[in-house]
């Protein structure tokens, strides 16, 4: 045996074997696996047959006039910049004068500049509120209509700004479906669930989906992982409903492991970190036992992957630990001091972007939530999210962080918690469900931060997030609350899952999935409900598949 194969069935290796895109080690791994796995042998045979069929499709002759059309197109472009009296009256051959060749090149530039670009090309890296923004108390905020600073070119080569996966159900249908966002086509149906899905995280290679399900009105949440291809589902545990700190799912960079937290429904064991290994899916491993640990994000160093976990307390602390050994087996952490490769004091729940050139994390004093959220650790003093970024002058460091909300002064109370997500472009960020009791009032009487609104910005914007980065109030229907936010790699598109309040005991949970195109200046955002959302039921959450975009440096 040459080592374990990722995932229950190595479809990727089988696929790559058809074009000889395997290393020697991978070839040996695959051969060993195939000898014992009838399912994979059938997959290999099906893929081979498919390749043979597709490869034998008949070639079609192009139109006979194609050559003439190309020739005409070249001539038309070549003479587009000439005064009409200098243009030839008939098409020439491919030979041309120096002047006309220059004109053709110039035409490309001009046309390229004038042609209405697709949405993704005009995406602003700095979304700006389209309503008249109120002014925040202490720190003056920048002009919302100012041009965005140094727009980062998005890695948009092939992706179309549509959500890729939408988990839908239940209410009238307890079997949620995973759908293709672009076509609406059902990719797979999952096992029945006892309530609505409230957040989801796609495994980096797109083969598995981790998601949380509200278990009716019981105050419990199920953690599940399902195969996107065949719907096979694993129940990873049942947790007490917690805030955003608990409800955080983190896939490892290679997609083999999922880290998540479980808050003991009985309250006795507190909140602990678990790791699910896709190779041994029936036995998630409890990593911590002290009852005050939360999941941060995966990291990597020269020796392999690290998992950042955070210990809640009056002064929180975060640790980067080896979650699995050299054989890939997940090991519970020993009692006593955490065997950490790195330690960050005062830091809670660090969320690295995929490129690992920026990290968002929390600072402040924490306590268990008391009567409002028994057993749940929240910030009670000076709680706020911070962001640290790598620059040309300095490496990424927690010490170099600044407040994520640049126009908020956090003194006594601050945030208790908030939900935060990175976009797949590694630059976009969104914050919602901002829990700040007695949040400051703005001059227009509204509170800021507002728990009902979504704050959407870009790490390359010097302002980071301000009150002006709130999505339009009209983006979310009256009476609805934002359950989940997914960001597209365009830096301009979001998918909001918004749930409606239940009006009676017999009401079924209802949520709409709204695709928002963020606009700048005084132009209102464009909000498009996903088809079918208006007829009721539960739609969402959505995921923008990072595989649609090339994020490889």
């Amino acid at each position: 045996m040459t080592g374990p194969i990722r995932g229950p069935h190595p479809d990727e290796l089988i696929s790559a074997s058809l074009t000889n895109d395997l290393t020697d080690i991978e070839r040996r791994q695959l051969d060993t696996h195939l000898a014992d796995c009838a399912t994979c042998r059938a997959t290999l045979e099906a893929f081979r047959e498919q390749r043979r069929m597709v490869g034998k499709m008949r070639q079609v002759e192009p139109p006979r006039d194609l050559s003439a059309r190309v020739r005409a197109g070249i001539e038309a472009g070549r003479h587009a910049q000439q005064p009409w009296w200098q243009r030839p009256s008939s098409l020439l051959g491919f030979g041309a004068s120096l002047a006309t060749v220059a004109a053709a090149i110039l035409a490309v530039v001009i046309i390229g500049n004038l042609r209405p670009a697709p949405d993704v090309a005009v995406a602003s890296s700095t979304p700006v509120a389209s309503i008249a923004p109120p002014v925040v108390s202490a720190v003056p905020s920048a002009d919302a209509t100012a041009p965005p600073p140094s727009a980062t070119p998005g890695p948009i080569a092939l992706g179309i700004p549509d959500y890729s996966l939408a988990l839908t159900g239940p209410s009238d249908n307890l079997a949620p479906t995973v759908r293709d966002g672009e076509t609406g086509q059902t990719i797979t149906e999952l096992d029945a669930i006892e309530g609505p899905p409230i957040s989801a995280a796609l495994q980096p290679y797109g083969t598995s989906l981790a998601y949380l399900v509200d278990v009716g009105l019981s105050g419990l949440v199920d953690v599940r992982v399902s195969s996107v291809t065949d719907g096979k589902t694993y129940e990873l545990g049942r947790s007490a409903v917690g805030g955003p700190f608990v409800e955080h799912l983190a896939w490892s960079r290679e997609g083999r492991y999922l880290a998540y937290a479980i808050a003991d429904p009985n309250g006795q064991a507190g909140t602990n970190v678990y790791v699910f290994d896709t190779l041994t899916p029936d036995q998630p491993t409890q990593l911590t036992y002290s009852g005050n640990f939360y999941v941060g994000s995966w990291d990597v160093d020269d020796e392999g992957e690290l998992l950042w976990i955070s210990e809640a307390g009056a002064e929180p602390i975060s640790y980067a630990v080896r979650a699995y050994d050299s054989d890939g087996l997940v090991q519970r952490l020993p009692d006593g001091p955490v065997p950490a490769e790195r330690t960050a004091e005062g830091v809670f729940q660090p969320l690295f972007n995929r490129s690992k050139n920026a990290v968002i994390y929390w600072r402040g004093v924490m306590q268990t939530g008391g009567s409002e959220a028994p057993g749940e650790w929240l910030f009670v003093q000076a709680g706020a999210p911070y962001i640290a970024r790598e620059t040309e002058e300095s490496a990424l460091s927690f010490e170099g962080g600044v407040p994520l909300f640049s126009d908020l002064e956090v003194a006594d109370q601050g945030f208790r918690a908030a939900a935060i997500t990175w976009g797949p472009d590694d630059r976009s960020i969104a914050v919602w469900d901002a829990n700040w009791p007695d949040a400051p009032s703005l001059e227009d009487g509204t509170v800021y931060p507002d728990r009902a609104r979504v704050y959407f910005g870009n790490v390359d914007d010097e302002r980071l997030l301000t009150s002006r980065h709130a999505l339009d109030q009209e983006d979310v229907p009256d009476g609805a609350r934002v359950v989940d936010v997914a960001l597209a790699a365009t830096g301009r598109h979001l998918a909001l899952t918004v749930a409606y309040e239940l009006t009676g005991d017999l009401d079924a949970p209802r949520a709409d999935l709204l695709l928002v195109t963020r606009n700048t200046g005084n132009v209102a955002d464009v909000v498009e409900p996903v088809a079918g959302a208006s007829v009721g039921g539960w739609h969402g959450p959505a995921i923008y598949d990072p595989m649609l975009f090339d994020l490889t440096p």
Binding site: D11, V54, V60, P118, T183, D550
Partner: protein, 193 residues
Amino acid sequence: MLSIPFDRRVARGPAVMSHEDRMTAHGDFDRLFEEFSAPIYNYVLRMIGDRDRAADITQDTFIKAYRHIDSLTDVSSTRSWIYRIATNTAIDDMRRRKHLARMDDDEHHAERPDTAPGPEAQVMGVVLDERIQRAMLLLRPNHRQCLILSDVEDMSAHQIGEVMGLSYGAVRTLLCRARGEMRRHLAAEGLSR
């Protein structure tokens, strides 16, 4: 692999291009068109599923190739280069149609493949081809692209990466997903288990 000797003197621009240079460049372009017009047309046709649009996109592809021939710095990459232009041109076309469809409040109808047997199937004239093509048009655009590049054009993951602007690993993953998706669609057509 194509061995058209693109003369890099073209890259110096028209100000220094002699009559002889221009004739060489145009000869190169003629050979490029001769060798790739049919494969590119078929590639786009598989992608789009519409003969007229495929012809338009192929036409635009070669016009762009002519105008940007100086951006081709490595002759050995000619094949990837022309397929990349075709890919981007096809994507632009799909985006534009999608945008227009939304403006027309047409519920994205125009961007969805027409899965009914149409004129294209009649042109192909082969029932099996028709069913395979129908299954292929149900794939996501990027899945369709990489599957065609792999199984029709016989490109390696590295070459597909050059065309699609993706890393080697991303191509392998995308291809795996495409094959899985295609398997289901072929099964629906009764062509796979």
